[in-house]
Amino acid sequence: MGRPLATALLLVVTGHAVAWAQSGGTGAVTPPRSPRNANYTITARLDPSTRTITGAETITWRNITTKPATDLQFHLYWNAWKSSRTTFMHERALRSTGLGPRVDDRRRNPDEWSRIDVVSIRVGARDLSASKRFIAPDDENPDDETVMVVPLDPAVEPGGTATIDLTWTAHVPRAFARTGAIGNFFFIAQWFPKLGVLLDEGWNCHQFHSGTEFFSDYGVYDVSLTVPSGWPLGATGVQRERRDNGDRTTTYRYYQEDVHDFAWTTSPDYLERTARFEHPTLPPVEMRLLLQPEHADQAERHFDATRTTLKYYGEWYGAYPYGHVTIIDPAYQSGAGGMEYPTLFTAGTRWLAPSRVTTPEGVTVHEAGHQFWYGIVGNNEFEDAWMDEGFNTFSTARAVAQVWDPNHLALRYFGGFIPWAFRDVVINRETDGNRLSGYRRDAKSDAQSTPSYRYFPATGGSITYNKTALWLNTLERWLGWPTLQRIMATHFDTWKFRHPKPADYFDTVNEVAGRDLGWFFDQVYRSSNVFDYGVQDLTSARDDRNEFRTTVIVRRWGEAIFPVDVLVTFRDGERVTEHWDGKDRWKLYTYDRRAQALSAQADPARVLLLDVDYTNNSKTLEPQGGRAATKWSLKWMVWLQDGLLSWVSLI
C-alpha cells in the first residue's frame, strides 16, 4: 500500500474510531456488578523501534477476604519468556517433543525474548522497591520470575485498602502465548504487573504455565496508551480520550468498569469496520472490528459470528452487559489469534477461507463466547480451566450448529496455504464440535480434578476443552436441553462477576436438576476412567419351537459407569429398548420371537458422547462391514497409486 493511500485510510479509520467511541458508551457499568477491589490506572508508552513499553500504574486494592494481607503478590507474566529455563518454557518443550525447546524457540533472536522489570514500587508513602523478590509457588523453579512478592508492613486488614504505585519497563517479544509483535503489528496482553487474587486461604498467584491462563479480581481499568500517530488502537473498554502529542505520537485513553484484565493492540495496517448487534430482548452491542487488509472481504463473516454468539449465549445464559466489543483479526504469523480478553478478543482467519467451512466463524464464536465464560464468570483458569474453556467449547459447538449447518471438513495443503473442502465430510456438532477424537487419544492422561496447571502439557487441552464439552453434551442429551440450559443460566447468573469453584457448579447442577449427580462427576471429573460400552455378541437362531431365540450380550469394557439403553431391532420391525444401569461388566438379554433379530445397539441415541469406541456399540446380522471396507480400501488404493506415481516421476 502506498503511503498517501495509507495515510488517507488511517484518517478515515481514526474518524470512525471517534464516532464509535461516542456511540458505544463510556465503559461505565451502573450499578457496579463486581466487587471492584482491584482497580488499575495505567499510563504506558510503546516504542515500536525498540519494542519496549515504559509504564506506570496505580493500583487501588481492597482486601475483601477475612484475613489480613501481610504481603502483595504480583504476576509478571512476560518474565515467562525471559529464557528457556522458565517453567513456561519447560512446559512448552513438553508440549512439543518433550526433548527440548521447540525449533522456533531455539532459533529466536535475543531480542525476540521478553522481560518485564519493575523499576519501583511504593505502597502508600513507603518505597518497597528494595524488598521485592521472586517466588515460584508451583515448582520452586529458581529461574522463574513470573511471581513477585512484596511484604506489607503494616498488613492490610480485611476491608482495608492499599494504594500501590509501580513503574516498569518491558520488552515486547516475538509472539509467545498470543502476545507480542511482528513487523508493525503489536498485540499486548498480560503486559503489566498485576496482582494475584487474595483468598481466605492466601494469595492465589500462580506462576505462568504454558497450558493454562489467568485469574484476577474484577475492577476498573483506566489506561492511557501512547503509540505512533496514525496507528489505530484497539483495547479493552471504550475510548474516552484521544490526544495528539505533537511528537508523532498519540495518546489514547481507554476505560472499562467491571473487568478483570486489559489488553490492547496497535498496527498501522488495521482496517476498521463497525456494526451493531440488536435483539428483541437483549441489550444492543456496538461491534468494532480491526482487521487485516487481506481479509477485508471477510468482515461480515466476523460480525455474523459475533452476532451469533451474543444472540445465543445471551438467550441461553444471560445478557452481555458491556454494550461494546472489539474483534481483532491478528496479523499473519503474529501468533495472537484465538484469544479472549474482557470486551476484546482475537479471532483468526486465513487469506483463503472457503464458504461452508467455519473459518473464521468457529474461532470467532469461541473467543466471543469467552466474554461470557471467563469474562463475566471469572473462574480460576490456572486451576479450573475447564470451567471456562470446556463450557465455552460446548457452547461454541452448539451455537455453530444453529447457524452453520452443515459445515464441512477442510484440510490444507502446500505448506498449509491451500484449503480443500471435503463436501462429503460434514462436521458434526456432537463429535467434532466437542472434539471427541482428541479426547479419545488423551482420555486417561489426567483426572479433570487435577489443577489444570498440573495437567501434562501436551494433553491437558483434551481434558480441559474436549472432555468437558463432551460431558456437558452428554448431560444435555440425558437431562434434556431445557434442564441443562437452566443449570448453565443459573450458574451464570449466580457467579457473574465472581470467582466460582468446581463445587459451586456441581451444587448448581444438583439443585437445578433436582437430583444428586455426584456419581456422574465422580466419573467425569474426579477420575480419568474412560467409558466404553458395547455389544459383545448378538445371535438369533431358530429353536425347536420354530421361534427365534435371540441373545444379546452387552458389555462395559471401560472403567467408568453410565446408564445406557440397549435397543434390539427385529426383522418384523419390532424394537425393544432395555434400560441398563451399566454397572455390571456385562448383561445378557434373551428374547423368543417369531421374527429374527436384526441388530442390537448399546446407547442407540448416543447419549454418552464420552464413549471412546462407538463402533463396538452395535452388532447386526446383516453386516455391511465388508462392503464398506471394500469401498474405502478402493478409495485408499487410488490415493496410494497416485502417491506411487509421485515417486516414479523421479526415475
Binding site: I418, S618, A629, S633
Partner: protein, 330 residues
Amino acid sequence: MSAWRDGMRRVNRAPAILVGVWALTLLVSLPLAVAMRGMLAQHLGRSLAADTAASGVNYDWMQEFSDQATGLGVTFKPTIIGFGAVLDNLSAFMDNTPRPVVIVGAASTYVALWIFLAGGIIDRYARDRATRAYGFFAAAGVFFFRFLRLAVVQWLVYACLFGLIHPWLFERLYPRFTHEITVERTAFFIRVALYLVFGVLMAAATTLFDYAKVRAVVEDRRSMFGAIGGALGFLRRHLAAAVALFLANFALFALVVGLYSVVAPGAGRAGIWMWIGFAAGQFYVLGRLWVKLVFWASETALFQSRLAHAGYVARSDPTWPESPAADAIS
C-alpha cells in the same frame, strides 16, 4: 513439438506398455489395499457404523479408526477422498512430508520394478516398432543393471535435493524470508517461488537422468557416467528444445490433474457407484502413466531426431530362440 507429437504417437502405438505399467501399479498397490481392507473390515466388524460408512462418509468412525490405527492404518484419512488424494500426494511431495515405512517400502518396490522395465520401455519407443514380450524383457534385462548403477547416482542426487536442498529452502530460507511478514498472501508467494526453485532443480535432475537413459538405450552405452555426460552434452546443445519439450509434457500432466479435479468422485456409495468411482480413479492413474510414458517417448524422439535417425537403436534386434518344433524338424 514434432518430438512431442511423435512421443505421444509412439506411446499410443504401444498400448501394451501402458496397460502393463498400469497392471504393475495395480499389482503393487493391490496387496496393500487388501491389507487395508482387512483392517477396515476388522474394525467395522458387524457394527451398524458400517452402514453409514458404506452409504457415504462416517467421519466419526474414520477418526475412531485413525486414532487406534498403527502402521498402514495411519494413512487412512479423509484426504483419500476424491481430488483430496491428489492434493495430499502432490503436497507431500513438494513439502517433503515423511510417509509411513510401509508406504515407503511399497514405493521403493514400485520404483525398483520401473527401473527394471525402463530399458524395455525406452527400447520399444526407440525402435518404434513391436518388439514382442521377449524383445521387451530382453532389453529390460540388458539395461536393468546399468540403470541400477544409474539409480545409485540418481539416489545420491535426490537425496541431496530432498535431504539438503529442500530443508535449506523450506526450513532455513523460507522462515528467514517470511520472518517479519504479516501478510499471508506474501508468504504464500514466497513459498510458491521456492516451490518453483525446487521444481526447476527437480525437473533438471529428472530430465538429465531421462536423457541419460535414452542415450544409454539408443546408443547401447554401458557406462552410466558416460550416459550422464552424454545427456549433459545433449541438453547443453539442445537446451531450448529440451525445455520446450519438458514444458509441453508438464502441461499434459497439469491437464490430466486438472481434468481429474473436475471429475474426481467423492465418497459415493458402496455397490456399483463404488466401482464407477474406482474406474474413474484408474482412468486418472492411466492418464498419469500415459504422461510419464510420453515424457520418455518424446525425449527419445527428440534425441533421435537430433542425433540419430528416427528408430535408430545401436543394440541389435533381439534374436528369437528356436522353436522347440525345430527339434522335430531336424
